[in-house]
């Protein structure tokens, strides 16, 4: 919704204010230079880089491709499993390495669990931005269960370093399967609870519907991906459209924004895509648990030393935030010649100036929240 200052109010002058770098709704250290006309946003200039660690330089300094994996964890610390998964797939593609069945299934289950955990955090903090405190706590109860599963298999709650080139660091414990199945069972009704509590809450809809509308063609021109693109009604999911790993074996839907309570591509649509994606992740996990072979050595294909040939790949995978691309150039030496990360949050955030023009300052908070950025990934 764009707002116009009516003619009979006093003439206003444009004012520039800073939102951030330390602001609760910027989800990290992000500075938004906002040019305001009264309460209406004329322009926004995002200033990023506060969390810049130059991951790519670190990666080039490593003397082994495996040593980059802990750094990939720290790109997007909210969905570290997905980051590792993407990087490892890229390296395996360069090595032309086949991975055992069991490993593929475990990886997919972990990636989907991580997607749910990440979306729960995104949804919870989005509600928090708009003043809804309770759903945040509900989300964190569920997220905690996933983190407990991850802790049991990898020993860490956030930065796992669990998926390695050719396999996994160690096999999953026997309790993994029943516990995951149990989580799937108990989590389903919670989604309905969340919908009652937040999604269809009138106040929440009033704050998010018709706000920050992103038309599909603009989204594509900006190369938006993930829920940001699907919220605009474009049915595009790499797990289906360009399947990697074993995603072509599962049946699931791609939820897209439909303008149910407002206009296609508004904040609510982006939010709702995330909620519905959690349901689809459960569907994938169920199928994967059923098909997963019980036996198999997860270390079988792990190379003792990675001997790389000359070549380059661009591999993209679907993380909770969208298309994560790894562009890796190898020059036969043990350390990568170039590792470029195409971070979905970085690209999605670049759309902010385009979709927040004419919004109210309070709506800007909703728009930033609906993009679901992780600053670690924006700044790398």
């Amino acid at each position: 919704m764009t707002h116009q200052i009516s003619a009979n109010v006093q003439e206003t002058r444009e004012m520039t204010i800073n939102m951030g770098p330390q602001h609760p709704s910027t989800h990290g250290v992000l500075r938004l230079e906002v040019v305001l006309n009264g309460e209406v946003v004329s322009r926004v200039h995002p200033h990023i880089g506060y969390l810049h660690r130059c991951f790519e330089k670190h990666a080039e300094a490593m003397d082994d491709y495996s040593k980059v994996i802990p750094y990939t964890d720290r790109i997007d610390y909210v969905s570290a499993m997905n980051q590792e998964h993407g990087y490892v797939i890229a390296v395996e593609k360069l090595l032309q390495l086949e991975v055992p069945e069991r490993v593929e299934y475990v990886r997919v289950i972990l990636a989907e669990l991580q997607r749910i955990a990440s979306h729960l955090l995104g949804i919870g903090t989005f509600g928090l931005d708009l003043g809804a405190f309770t759903p945040f706590l509900y989300c964190f109860i569920e997220r905690e269960k996933i983190l407990t599963i991850f802790e049991k298999i990898s020993g860490a709650r956030l930065l796992y370093n669990y998926i390695c080139v050719g396999g996994l660091m160690r096999d999953v414990p026997d309790s993994f399967k029943p516990e995951t199945a149990d989580f799937v069972k108990t989590f389903r009704p919670k989604i309905k609870e969340l919908n009652d509590l937040l999604s269809y809450n009138k106040i929440f809809i009033d704050r998010t519907a018709n706000i920050g509308i992103l038309p599909a063609e603009v989204a594509l021109n900006y190369a938006a991906s993930g829920p940001m693109l699907r919220g605009s009604g474009v049915s595009w999911d790499l797990r289906k459209n360009d399947p990697y790993s074993i995603y072509d074996r599962f049946e699931f839907d791609i939820p897209v924004g439909s303008g149910e309570v407002g206009t296609v591509g508004d904040c609510w649509d982006r939010y709702m895509v995330r909620v519905r994606e959690m349901e689809q992740s459960l569907v994938i996990i169920e199928q994967a648990l059923e098909q997963m072979p019980d036996e198999g050595n997860v270390m079988e294909a792990v190379p003792k030393r990675i001997r790389m040939k000359e070549g380059e790949v661009y591999v993209r995978t679907e993380t909770p935030r969208g298309e994560l691309g790894y562009y890796i150039i190898s020059d036969k030496s043990p350390s990568p010649f170039r590792v470029k990360v195409r971070a979905p949050s970085f690209v999605n955030l670049s759309i902010l100036p385009a979709i927040s023009r004419g919004a109210l300052l309070s709506d800007l908070v909703a728009i930033v929240g609906s993009i679901d950025i992780v600053l670690g990934e924006v700044d790398r």
Partner: protein, 161 residues
């Protein structure tokens, strides 16, 4: 859906100026090399041609090739209409690293090109706001160059840790 070699042949067939050669790859993906002063026209052609329709720029990466004293830019394009992808490359000498900006073709290139300038010092002609994006404005040097030496102090703060 077209394979990269078909796309290269198609571009040559249409006599698009600036298409240099198609490089097949033993491992990974092949690419097409282009002249740096014609990338914008080719980008427009790739986006608008009815048989190609490359409507998204997935990734734009700068690369430093120290052996050849060159900087390079790699473009990874994708068409959601047809589902095909292609990689394009341009190379420029390090003492005059100027590449045409494709920001007017794909808006997503805005931040990517600023990043390539910040990290590698590639200048994109025609970019509306060629400023640093990840490093502070007064930072010295371009970190991703292979011969980069980090400055000792930044505004009185020791940068080494």
């Amino acid at each position: 859906m077209k394979q990269p070699e078909e796309i290269a042949a198609y571009l040559k067939d249409k006599i698009v100026k600036g298409v240099l050669e198609f490089v097949p790859a033993e491992i990974g993906q092949p690419w097409i090399t282009l002249a740096p002063d014609s990338i914008k026209n080719i980008a427009k052609f790739l986006r608008d041609d009815s048989e190609l329709r490359f409507n998204t720029l997935m990734c734009l990466s700068g690369v430093h090739y120290p052996a050849e004293q060159e900087l390079g830019v790699t473009y990874h394009l994708h068409s959601t209409t047809f589902g095909h992808t292609v990689a394009l490359k341009v190379r420029v000498p390090i003492d005059n690293p100027r590449v045409q900006s494709v920001e007017s073709v794909w808006k997503t290139a805005d931040w990517h090109e600023r990043e390539a300038w910040d990290m590698l010092g590639i200048i994109f002609d025609g970019h509306p706001n060629m400023t640093r994006i990840l490093c502070p404005d007064d930072w010295e040097g371009h970190p991703l160059r292979k011969d980069y030496v980090q400055q000792e102090t930044y505004q009185g703060i020791t940068t080494r840790f």
